[in-house]
């Protein structure tokens, strides 16, 4: 048993906070934010280079910056933050001590050292192979080594999380089942184990190949296994940020899942059907059959998509129920209008929910449709899609929960609360713009990972339509907006941690503690007409956009 001196009681939530757990959360969150800053600046330089009127970087620096951008934000920022979420959802939410904090620290340092090594490899200039590092293009050995170290560190973090669940259960720090948010974090951690194993299976041989110890890596096999890591890790993000949505709705509004059973089942679907994500990267590859593609992108039923569609109703639904219980019952949307839009945790969370669904989610399904992929593969549509999921969805959700972690874990008040209110809107609108304009350019055929769409140095010439240039310009402007939002976030977070006033008891008053919602199954609490309208709009958009793309496809050259 841990001694009482290792705990403090949170004055506002009454949670027992294990100090070693708190330290680990702090370290991981801080590392995450640092790499968000680095990766974000690389991202801005990429967007400014792709804006033809600006064309900031020379070609070699562009490809270097793009590689670093992908690694630092898609991998390092997100996984570090997810470690913080795992420790929070286990030790803190379960009132438990954390398992083996030393292992947690070992994991942390491995991740940090790995991330630094890979960044050095990229900055040395001989590893501009993009985040995906498709063979037979080769990076320096330490490029792969850093990623492997980082992944093993993350695996240790997952083990600490699992261990903490076991300890909490044995020491009976909670009653009944684990909370939904912890359940969501558990799904993320289980998927992470699968993901990291896939990464090891492909990156360790690739590392050996880069040292001439293995003679050949088949490029198609590499791609198939690499994406079992590359896209499954996006499923970790989805599980984690959906858990964050539920957590924010609960902490800020006292919202409670409409049905524990449905929400948990939806999380479970992510585990059971996650592999389909890796399949949809292989839709226009040689040597893979249509049967394989169709089955593996859908498992005949699209159940992982269904999981997200369920959360898309249950998260806003739980908010609507909580708001209506507080008396915001006029009309269909009073509950939404009177929601705490000035609270950056809530606004960030709700924007993340809407944009993940409408922008990232719908387009992901379209991209993952066997034949439709022909008109989109490797165009800017692809990064457009995943900036909708990972930036507007995951990153914004993680930013939103930071505003709750700063008073709760760092015990500091936010500096610049007024600017903090603006931050989610600034970043969210920027991210939505990046996403939409890149998809617009992709629909016009603009290639991703491409330094010069004017083809100045090419032997043969090609002109993209003027609209494509317009899209790239708008994308650049959106990137500036998002970067401003990102810089603001980093300044507020770092400033609050360093210079924020120590939290006194009043800061989080009026937040959670008691459940405002009635019992399950009582008809009165379950009227969610506003959510039904939102969901209906979403579904209509989804169906229309799906058929629009089949129409586009029907216009290209017949292929057999």
């Amino acid at each position: 048993m841990a001694s009482d001196t290792q705990f403090r009681t949170c004055p506002t939530t009454g949670l027992q906070i294990h100090l070693p757990a708190e330290k680990l959360i702090k370290a991981n969150a801080v590392a995450a934010v640092v790499f968000l800053a680095i990766g974000g600046l690389f991202g801005l330089s990429v967007a400014l280079t792709r804006w033809p009127a600006v064309h900031l970087l020379p070609a070699d620096w562009f490809y270097l910056a793009l590689t670093a951008h992908g690694l630092d934000v898609l991998l390092v920022w997100i996984i570090f933050f997810e470690m913080a979420i795992l420790y929070f959802a286990s030790a803190i939410l379960l009132n438990s001590r954390i398992a083996a904090p030393r292992v947690g620290w070992t994991g942390f340092w491995m991740m940090l050292i790995g991330a630094v090594i890979t960044n050095i490899a990229v900055l040395q200039g001989k590893s501009s192979v993009m985040f995906t590092s498709y063979v037979p293009m080769q990076a320096d050995p330490h490029f792969y080594l850093g990623i492997v170290l980082f992944a093993v560190g993350a695996l240790l973090g997952c083990c600490v999380f699992f261990g903490t669940l076991v300890i909490a259960k044995e020491e009976k720090t909670y009653e009944g089942s684990i909370p939904l948010v912890t359940f969501g974090a558990l799904t993320a951690a289980i998927i992470a184990v699968f993901t990291i194993a896939s990464g090891a299976i492909i990156l360790i041989p690739t590392f050996l190949w880069s040292m001439d110890l293995v003679s050949n890596i088949d490029p198609l096999m590499y791609k198939a296994v690499w994406w079992a890591m590359g896209h499954s890790s996006q499923q970790i993000n989805v599980s984690a940020h959906v858990a964050v949505w539920y957590a924010i709705a609960a902490i800020v509004l006292g919202a409670k899942p409409i049905s524990e059973k449905v929400s948990r089942l939806a999380f479970l679907m992510y585990i059971l059907f996650l592999q389909l994500a890796s399949a949809h990267h292989l839709l226009v590859e040689p040597g893979i059959s249509s049967e394989w593609k169709i089955f593996n992108t859908s498992y005949a039923m699209y159940l992982a998509v269904l999981g997200s569609m369920i959360h898309g109703m249950t998260v806003p639904g739980s908010i609507e129920v909580a708001q209506r219980a507080k008396g915001y019952t006029n009309g269909i949307f009073e509950w939404l209008k009177k929601a705490p839009w000035g609270n950056p945790a809530f606004s960030g969370m709700f924007l993340s929910l809407i944009m993940f669904g409408f922008i990232g989610g719908i387009t992901g399904v379209i991209l993952g449709t066997e034949q439709l992929n022909i008109i989109m593969h490797n165009t800017l549509y692809v990064p457009g899609h995943f900036h909708g999921t990972v930036v507007a969805g995951t990153t914004l959700a993680f930013m939103a929960i930071t505003y709750l972690l700063i008073p709760l874990i760092f015990q500091r008040e936010l500096i610049w609360p007024k600017l903090a209110r603006l931050q989610p809107y600034l970043f969210g609108i920027g991210a939505a713009g990046i996403s939409l304009f890149m998809m617009g350019a992709g629909t016009l055929g603009v290639a991703r990972r491409h330094w010069d769409i004017t083809f100045t140095d090419a032997a043969l010439k090609f002109d993209y339509p003027g609209a494509a240039f317009l899209m790239m310009g708008l994308n650049g402007i959106s990137a500036i907006l998002a970067a401003l939002g990102g810089i603001l976030y980093i300044l507020i977070v770092v400033g609050s941690i360093l210079f924020g006033k120590k939290v006194d008891q009043s800061i989080m008053k009026g937040k959670p503690a008691s459940s405002v919602v009635g019992k399950y199954g009582s008809a009165g609490t379950l009227a969610i007409p506003g959510t039904v309208v939102l969901v209906a709009v979403f579904f209509t958009t989804f169906v229309l956009y799906y058929f629009v793309n089949w129409k586009y496809l029907a216009e290209v050259w017949p292929l057999r």
Binding site: A250, N378, V556
Partner: protein
């Protein structure tokens, strides 16, 4: 709340609200529909990738392409040979650092068996402005039957990053009436 253990210990027995149930059913049916749509398009649609592919060495593929170029070359353009193969024939296209080789000339509404492979790294075949995108691997020969249905000048962009000259990698396909 979502951050505390479920109020009802036996939460898996609680009834599911009708709204949720309807949405789950709608979502599930839509998933089924999207699954069958892909299969339907294989029968009714005109844009489907063949499943034809072979393992091949860069040397063999290069030799086959050169043979075709020698046979059907009609002119040169910017140091690229332009080939005009007969309709229905096997046509070879090489992707390599950093060009698509040779330039092809097709006739409108005629079908060609197009073989594509890479001699070095991975490349992205991106035919513009029609917007057909394929991933080209070294060691694999992809075969698709194309039927250009509009005359004009088309460009093949590379849209898989292939090193520092990636953005200069352009090929051409002409479609004549």
């Amino acid at each position: 709340m979502a951050i505390t253990p479920p109020e009802e210990r036996i939460w898996w027995n609680e009834p599911v609200a009708r709204t949720e149930l309807i949405w789950i059913i709608v979502g599930f049916m839509w998933g089924l529909f999207m699954f069958f749509m892909m299969i339907y398009w294989h029968g009714a649609g005109e844009q489907n990738l063949s499943n034809e592919a072979y393992r091949i060495t860069p040397e063999t593929f290069s030799a086959k392409t050169t043979e075709m170029v020698d046979k059907y070359k009609v002119r040169e353009e910017s140091n690229f040979p332009v080939v005009h193969p007969p309709p229905g024939s096997d046509v070879y296209l090489i992707g390599r650092l950093w060009q698509w080789w040779p330039i092809l000339e097709f006739e409108k509404d005629q079908s060609y068996r197009l073989h594509i492979s890479s001699l070095d790294w991975q490349h992205g075949f991106s035919l513009q402005p029609t917007n057909i995108n394929l991933q080209i691997h070294p060691g694999y020969e992809m075969v698709i039957t194309v039927t250009p249905d509009q005359a004009g000048e088309y460009s093949i962009i590379c849209n898989e990053f292939c090193g520092i000259g990636h953005h200069t990698m352009i090929g051409k396909i002409y479609v004549t009436e």
